[in-house]
Symmetry: C2
Subunit: 346 residues, 2 copies
């Protein structure tokens, strides 16, 4: 009986795919512990505000989904062959640093007050500290990558970092713009979210020195998984209850973000609804009752259902992208993680 | 008669050391043109807001001092041997991208409305765009470095980027804090300004494949030059006239920044002056007349003179750091640039 079977018996019910994430975390517990330690160690600085703000974010937790993907894909690809090899751990920490830096800047850009159910760093430490500590973490991520010494890894993650910023800028440029197309929306999603998922997974193949086809398959898996993840995120902003979501419901609506639920509802809108979307999203003129009304319209137009359906499609494609790898416990868990993205927090 | 002699006859009066910068720019005109082109080319993105905001910054000009240092030090070190070699040009563009990214974020953090005599990017495009385009430029800088392919260069510039962020965070942490020591102030200056000067110069030796002693000498030169530059900047914030400075005079005062002029004046203060500094800097309670009063106190206490004197000392050390290199036209110009940092815009 392998490790996987044990952990299932202990902590996971096999018929609940949401627990694939817990399964991965359990299977890779040692790596994750090492990764968390690397995150704490390398966030350190003689400038006290940096580890203070860092500790706030680390304490807020989060699922560490992205570094877990690096660790899991590296392991599925046969890394590490040597017991003491920790490249995947250090690179997983880089991935989390890049992610954390973007979270810090996002929360400033969005004026978010909640993150993972706790006060956001900008709410506690101010926007200025969040911008600058984000810059530090980003730079530190690159220092870690340089220490790792692989130019291909640096190329993958620096391209991802540029793509993330492009996605965020495009999101800003399309805010309040009801003429935004689904293609533009997908560009935003691929940029701001899926690019880092893709890079996190691709790096797993690179450290394990696997052929390009496997790199590509993992990048494809990560990209599709990331899109599914973001689509569900965008649906939950109109559908979750606040306690479960861990951030403020309706943030996207208040900011006039053109997410898929809005695009679907707007495309199907009658004249009255169209006027509603113009006032609330394009003109940004909202009253307290408008979020409930937006949610009711979305329900009527099947916008949340359609968004989840689309997410399920991407999750399926992500699952299939792993078919090129031989069957293994960890491949099964990575495939089941696609279901987690759909069923989480709902 | 070499290039240098020609350009002096054309554009520079040899007895005005401030023109060393113009002399360098003229001597390296081709490289600078290529560097400016690289900056424009690599700032491009399908997300239009990125080149738009980029063009605003490029149009605002600036002296391109940091990339000029990379080009000049590389050339002093004998690079390029081959006419078509452009590593120094691309790395100079990286240096300018990192600098521009920090400017964008600084202006957001400081709520600055003016930059180089024009409206700052955040004033025109908003804080959100400035944060995100800054992130893009930073990531793009790393992509360019990865394309260059030198891990030592990546190590130098990623460390500089982390040090810059640490300096900025330390500056934020010491804001309004009259117990700040001169040592802490120097840490801020070395971090936020001098680290990138040092890295920009050190890279010149690395691309030319020079021994470590020359790398160190150039890093030392850049560090001391950068400190002198920032000290003068801090003095000018209390001493320049606004039209010459190209940014708002008194910004540091209004933000309660603990710069050397304040530290010197505060150390020499009588009871009345001490109360003044506590109210205006520590408590941040200021009236319109306070900047003039601060300037008058500084005049009385010789705070500006002392800051310039200190800057001159660092400029001298920067000049001496180049003594290890054989005499050359370009060495002379680099040495004279230290005078430029002292006499600029005053």
């Amino acid at each position: 009986m392998g490790v996987g079977a044990t952990l299932r018996a202990d902590t996971v019910q096999a018929d609940e795919p949401v627990d694939a994430l817990a399964g991965l975390a359990t299977l890779l517990r040692q790596d994750m512990t090492a990764c968390n330690q690397a995150i704490v160690d390398r966030m350190d600085s003689p400038v006290e505000l940096i580890p203070q703000l860092g500790a706030h974010i680390v304490a807020a937790g989060g699922k560490r989904l992205r570094p877990l993907l690096t660790l899991a894909t590296a392991r599925m690809c046969g890394y590490p062959a040597a017991p003491a090899a920790l490249r995947h751990v250090n690179l997983a920490a880089c991935v989390e640093f890049i992610h954390t830096a973007t979270l810090l800047h996002d929360d400033v850009v969005d004026d978010s007050m909640l993150r993972r159910g706790l006060a956001s760093a900008n709410a506690v430490f101010g926007n200025k500290a969040s911008v600058l500590v984000g810059d530090f973490l980003f730079a530190r991520a690159f220092q870690l990558m340089v220490a790792d010494g692989s130019l291909p890894v640096l190329a993958i993650l620096s391209r991802a970092a540029a793509t993330i910023a492009e996605g965020e800028v495009l999101q800003l440029a399309t805010q309040n713009d009801l003429t935004t197309s689904e293609a533009q929306y997908l560009d935003v999603v691929m940029g701001k979210t899926a690019a880092l998922f893709a890079a996190a997974c691709q790096v797993g193949a690179v450290v394990a020195d696997r052929p390009e086809a496997e790199e590509k398959a993992l990048a494809e898996y990560g990209m599709k998984l990331g899109i599914a993840f973001q689509l569900v995120d965008d649906a939950l902003d109109y559908a979750a209850d606040q306690a479960t979501l861990g951030k403020t419901v309706g943030d996207d609506f208040r900011e006039g973000k053109l997410t898929l639920p809005v695009l679907v509802a707007y495309a199907a809108a009658d004249d009255v609804e169209r006027a509603f979307w113009h006032r609330t999203i394009a003109d940004g003129s909202q009253t307290d009752a408008d979020l409930d009304r937006a949610m009711a319209i979305m329900e009527r137009r099947g916008a949340i259902t359609a968004t989840f359906e689309r997410a399920r499609g991407y999750a399926r494609e992500a699952r299939e992208a792993l078919d090129v790898f031989p069957a293994s416990e960890i491949r099964t868990l990575l495939q089941d993680v696609t279901e987690y993205t759909i069923s989480r927090a709902y």
